[in-house]
Subunit: 341 residues, 2 copies
């Protein structure tokens, strides 16, 4: 067990795109757990778009990371030492240890990871928060019916890839949107989406229309911006729009007025649209259903997934900056430590 | 039985506010029912904001009235002659006979009115489409919980008045918005809303904020425009917004870009808002529940309602133009003929 620890702290609130200088990598000492606490060693750190929100002040569903504070994040960790009867040395747990190699926890919010379900990394990916975001948003809000058309952007990413594949399991047609030919090929050929459209194509709107000849019944919104502009005129009556993210807009310094603005409510009325925002914890009661279904689908090969791994905690800031630009290809993970110390 | 008939036809598509010259009152002869048909005599014509949409071309949930065609509308009618075994002379039925004194029908879409439920006029009011719009939109989309705050505009009108009173029956706090002191007094004192705010008040936004110290959990949207601007910043996390109408915007000739546009989707996400458009026929399966509950509430005095009646079919165009300006005070009805011929 290493006696030195590291952490990544936020040193300034980014204006627009985060820069490497908005973060600082600090050396630290491995903390000592007190009574009732456990010492955690991070194996995998999950990087996710919502973290951009935590870097800014302003109203959101969670408080921002304070300046000088450790960046927040979901992790898969090993219990190195336990003074909490609920956990034993060697347990592998899902935690929110943040961007650091070690952390102490009072055990609240820790969940033991069942190694039979899959590799540890999947606990922060397809069998973790991103997978459950896809599962609950699509099934509990989107409610795709057989023969309907489901559209999702960032289709090669952790959430989007699961959305399209679950839609197909439910008998719907899956149309992805992704950045560049390689990702689109992967989404169509490897993941088996019915179609995938490149959002960099200057004719995105007409390409998407061709890919959705019967219109769009469910648009799983995780990017916003230009993609929503292309989706909007194609929405069918009674379309559902679960909104879990707006990554294309997270770095905006000035809110732009979208083209759809003047007609949105009229269309909500005449097309009877449903637009509903959610975050994964709103559906906590669905966790057992999710784990049961998703682990089975992954085992059966019905839901494929890809991981995009950078090595070492030091790589986290650049990897996160890249994530916001779509530089990743699959679920973005940081390998912080080995599976077994 | 009168042998002469009258009808109101649409002669031009209004630009902005409808004018009397957009309508023409025509003499006609009483039609003769063929085999399987019934002859209807209109007693009550209901005037409702959705009719403005039928006067315009452009995408909506229903086709426009053709130029030269009889204006559409819900009516309570007496069966004067029947060659349809499902109906007998003297039956009182709910129909969509439109703006005319007489019509023939093949019986499809006709519903016999149970006179035990209330006066015939209520079948096109509190026990008809407006009442059911309030009931289903509020209960099936808004889902008010005890202690929550429900806001509705046009609160002295047919839909709004029912929304607030049903909200209170469900244990929620009802805040109305209405035009002018008389209507606000009626909404608060007669209907018993907890608060009512005048939308003509130049400080509408701050008045509404005072009236909703715990924010807004359900906003029943039937007006749009400036009222939504005032409501928007007060929406609580997990607020629900059933959208059944946008009367403030129906006469717009140029779509304006609302102030909330640049932040709507961000707020949908961070506050987990639900925005859902509906029309009453989407909830047809709830009709029996509605009639059972609403007729009981009206009998018990828990839902009060007011009718605003103009006399004679000739009065319909001016009454409708007034309705769009809020000139009515309660459910707008046209008395086309006597209860019994």
């Amino acid at each position: 067990m290493s006696q030195s620890a590291k952490r990544v702290v936020l040193v300034s609130r980014p204006v627009g795109e985060p820069k490497p200088s908005d973060f600082r990598i600090e050396d630290a000492t491995v903390p000592t757990p007190g009574q009732g606490e456990v010492l955690l060693r991070t194996i995998w750190l999950s990087l996710d778009p919502y973290m951009r929100g935590r870097m800014s002040e302003g109203p959101s569903y969670a408080a921002p990371v304070p300046i000088g504070g450790v960046m927040e994040g979901g992790t898969a960790c090993e219990v190195m030492d336990s003074k909490n009867p609920g956990f034993a040395k060697g347990d592998i747990v899902l935690a929110r240890a943040g961007w650091q190699t070690h952390a102490v926890s009072d055990g609240k919010g820790l969940t033991k990871i069942d190694p039979k379900l899959g590799p540890v990394s999947t606990a922060v990916g397809v069998l973790g928060m991103p997978g459950m975001t896809a599962y609950t948003g699509l099934l509990d809000i989107g409610k795709p019916q057989p023969g309907e058309t489901v559209v999702v952007a960032a289709a090669s990413g952790a959430v989007g890839s699961a959305v399209g594949q679950i839609a197909q399991i439910k008998g719907a047609r899956a149309v992805g949107i992704a950045g560049g030919k390689d990702k689109c090929d992967y989404v169509k050929r490897e993941l088996g989406f019915d179609e995938c459209v490149d959002h960099r194509d200057p004719n995105l709107a007409s390409r998407l229309k061709e890919a959705c000849p019967k219109g769009i019944d469910v648009y799983f919104e995780n990017v916003g911006g230009a993609v929503f502009e292309a989706v909007y005129p194609l929405l069918n009556a009674f379309a559902r729009i679960p909104v879990c993210g707006l990554i294309a807009q997270y770095n905006e310094t000035e809110a732009s007025v979208p083209k759809w603005a003047s007609s949105l409510m009229r269309n909500v009325l005449t097309k009877r649209l449903t637009i509903r925002g959610f975050i994964v914890s709103d559906f906590a009661s669905r966790h057992a259903d999710f784990l049961r279904d998703m682990s089975q689908w992954v085992r059966e090969g019905k839901v494929k997934h890809r991981e995009f791994v950078t090595e070492g905690l030091d790589s986290a800031p650049a990897a996160f900056i890249g994530l916001l630009k779509g530089a990743n290809f699959g679920k973005q993970l940081v390998r912080v430590g080995p599976d077994k110390a």
